[in-house]
Amino acid sequence: MTVTEQAGPPSGGGREDTPLLDLLSGFIIELRQAGLPVSLTENLDAMEAVTHIPIEDRDAFKYALGSTLVKNHSHWRTFEVVFEVYFSMRGDEYTLEGAADGEGPEGEPGPPGEGAPQGGGGAMSGLTPEQLAEMLMKALMNGDQAMLRALARQAVMRYAGMEPGRPVGGTYYLYRTLRNLDLDGVLEGLMDAARQEAPEDLTPLEERLERDEFGDRIEQLKQEIEAEIRRRLVADRGVEAMARTLRKPLPEDVDFMHASREEMAELKKAIHPLTRKLAVRLARKRRHGRKGALDFRNTIRHSLSYGGVPAEPKFRFPRPAKPEIMVVADISGSVAAFARFTLHLVYAISGQFSKVRSFVFIDGLDEVTGFFEGVEDIGEAVHRVNTEADVVWVDGHSDYGHAFGVFWERFGRDVGPKTTVMILGDARNNYHASQSWILKEMQHKARKVYWLNPEPRAYWDTGDSIVGEYSTHCEGTFEVRNLRQLEAFVEKLV
């Protein structure tokens, strides 16, 4: 493969009939719709990039394009999905009925790499389900990529039951296909085969490694199947419509309160860098406030512009002071999902600052700083908070007023001019007394008091929410329902 300068883009766009640049501009529009911040410069860079890397060089093409358009790794998944919708149609015709032509691999495994079996129908469509299952098992055993791809296509044609024009999502077809393949059973079959082949009993470690390897291959097969379904849906419904159905919120826009398990795992990963940022922010802010010792060298340097007279004294930055943070978090049912996230946030924060104290409350309040200290495992800390913290006073329904009372009585004297207090909760007080005088005094003594509310702003002060009353005693009250907003809060601290 030798590529030298080409006058125009390589011929052959994503689909036979669309020129590459048109396809690309539709692609970029869709990325923007999905929330990616693609600037004009980046758009132009992408257009230039595709003139240098031929689309046939699939992976390099994808990554090169990504490097001009995606500058934040958490957006990569979204990019990949849109890329697949726009650029996976090359070459083969995909129609739902006419897929029976093409030369299937017929017994001998398809040539690896570029010659992936075309069409997928052909000879394979004559196989019995048992024969197909056997081929699948063999292909997985040998890690035969080309064959797996062909089998994925065959499986989709057979089992997904796709009909043109039916308004059903891809997950439904995926489910139907996978149900017929029984991949859990396949994994066990593969493990049995591996055990038989081994000269002696597999040790637990060997067993684990085999299982991980097969698991990996099965995962790849699933992705092939998913991609195949998606390609067919694109063929049926068109690129734009398909991209629209697949649109999902970017990780930073996922609502804490309604995050799925998977999304929550992603969120947890994202918290850590954010708290490091928070740490830097808080430290920096103090540093700019005050002047430090005289910087002799710098003063002399500037004196040169005054003919050697040290007319303009220069100062070193003072050492950043250690910020003290108190986190007070509602962990009641109404914010349960948020609370889980909150605890991770607290944990991450305590890793960043030397002086963090954390408190959790429902209608009673307890200090949990110790649970987070020296633990390496957040799961353990969360477990202890949930089982050991003494947060229920009467009935386990939020009572902010009472919780604040306990806080003030027991820990109020520890709040000082260096303390930043962060209160996390929805301020749904079950119509108890607000005791907002406590916040007023707290604001007086503390450096800053911030309130982070996981509820949409539109719900504030409706029903039993009294966030408005509390917020009159805070330096800032922020809607924090997703990472983007949490990040904005951190930014605003400057």
Binding site: M1, D57, D59, T68, D212, R301, L304
Partner: protein
């Protein structure tokens, strides 16, 4: 304009010859950076070969590596240039009181008193250079702005000397550990490359390339075990450097087949935290079926 590379695969092959194992993404983006004359911003977990990539690309292009290591508080005088004030003071003293001041001043701010720092050095270089701005996220936002002019125009203006323009467009790599979000302006100017942990095959090849005396079988086991460990929910996953350290240790100990015992004995090279080590050791010893998924 002549380019450094023929095609993507050529980049991949040259890097492999220099013992850097790149995937299609890495090779493709390096190739593109050369074609578009743009810097590459490299992010990814610690120890995945970000810095090494810059060094290896310098190797294969026969370029001299100029490295600017960033840290908080790094300023213009360390990144770009500084006037040699000691020498200047001496010059002032030597002149006595009688010379014309403006004459001295001209003299003071001439080449002779200029201390060139990495950024200026890269721009003024006559030979082939590659500029590596390592850990750019540690710079303060204000200092980051300094990079912008340089990265888009490949020139800097020095008030006393005028504008210095590069005679060539050097390859530029910036690495970041994402301790803070870099400015949009900086990102816009760069191609973005995220280097994740390598897949099984590539990690095996890295071990083969980097660990003297390792055989294919051991390299394969090492890569597999590391992959399995990375799937655990750990405080810190093993990096490529740790994989390499581990493989070297196994070779030193003369172990050619890793079993649960030898893995347990040496796992502290791969993992740093007590709880992580405990988790891994448990994985080595237990049959997968015995494990109950732990909620949370």
């Amino acid at each position: 304009m002549d380019f450094r590379f023929e095609d993507v695969d050529g980049v991949r092959r040259s890097l492999a010859d220099a013992n850097y194992l790149a995937d299609d993404g890495i090779a493709g983006i390096v190739y593109l950076a050369d074609r578009l004359g743009k810097p590459i911003l490299v992010e990814g977990p610690a120890g995945t070969g970000k810095t090494q990539l810059a060094q290896s690309v310098a190797d294969i292009t026969g370029a001299r590596l100029i490295r600017l290591q960033c840290y908080e508080g790094l300023d213009e005088s360390k990144a770009l240039y500084e006037w040699n004030y000691k020498k200047q003071l001496l010059r002032i003293q030597a002149s006595g009181g009688d010379t014309d001041w403006s004459e001295i001043e001209d003299d003071l701010f001439s080449e002779e008193f200029l201390l060139t720092r990495p950024l200026l050095e890269a721009i003024r270089a006559e030979d082939r250079v590659l500029l590596l701005v390592d850990e750019v996220d540690r710079l303060e936002v204000e200092t980051e702005a300094l990079l912008l002019e340089i990265l888009s125009e490949y020139q800097v203006s020095i008030p006393e000397l005028g504008t210095v323009t590069a005679t060539q467009v050097p390859l530029v790599f910036l690495t970041s550990n994402a301790t803070r979000e870099l400015s949009e302006a900086l990102k816009r100017r760069c191609l973005y490359l995220y280097i994740d942990y390598p897949d099984l095959e590539r990690e095996r090849e890295i071990v083969m390339a980097k660990v003297p005396g390792v055989d294919a079988n051991l390299a394969d086991q090492v890569a597999r075990i590391v992959r399995s460990i990375r799937q655990l929910d750990l405080k810190k996953s093993p990096s490529v450097s740790e994989t390499l350290d581990w493989a070297r240790t196994l070779v030193l100990l003369g172990i050619d087949k890793v079993d649960a015992q030898s893995a347990t004995d040496t796992v502290n090279i791969l993992l740093k935290y007590r709880t992580d080590i405990d988790k891994a050791v448990k994985e080595f010893a237990d049959r997968p079926d015995d494990l109950v998924d732990d909620p949370t």
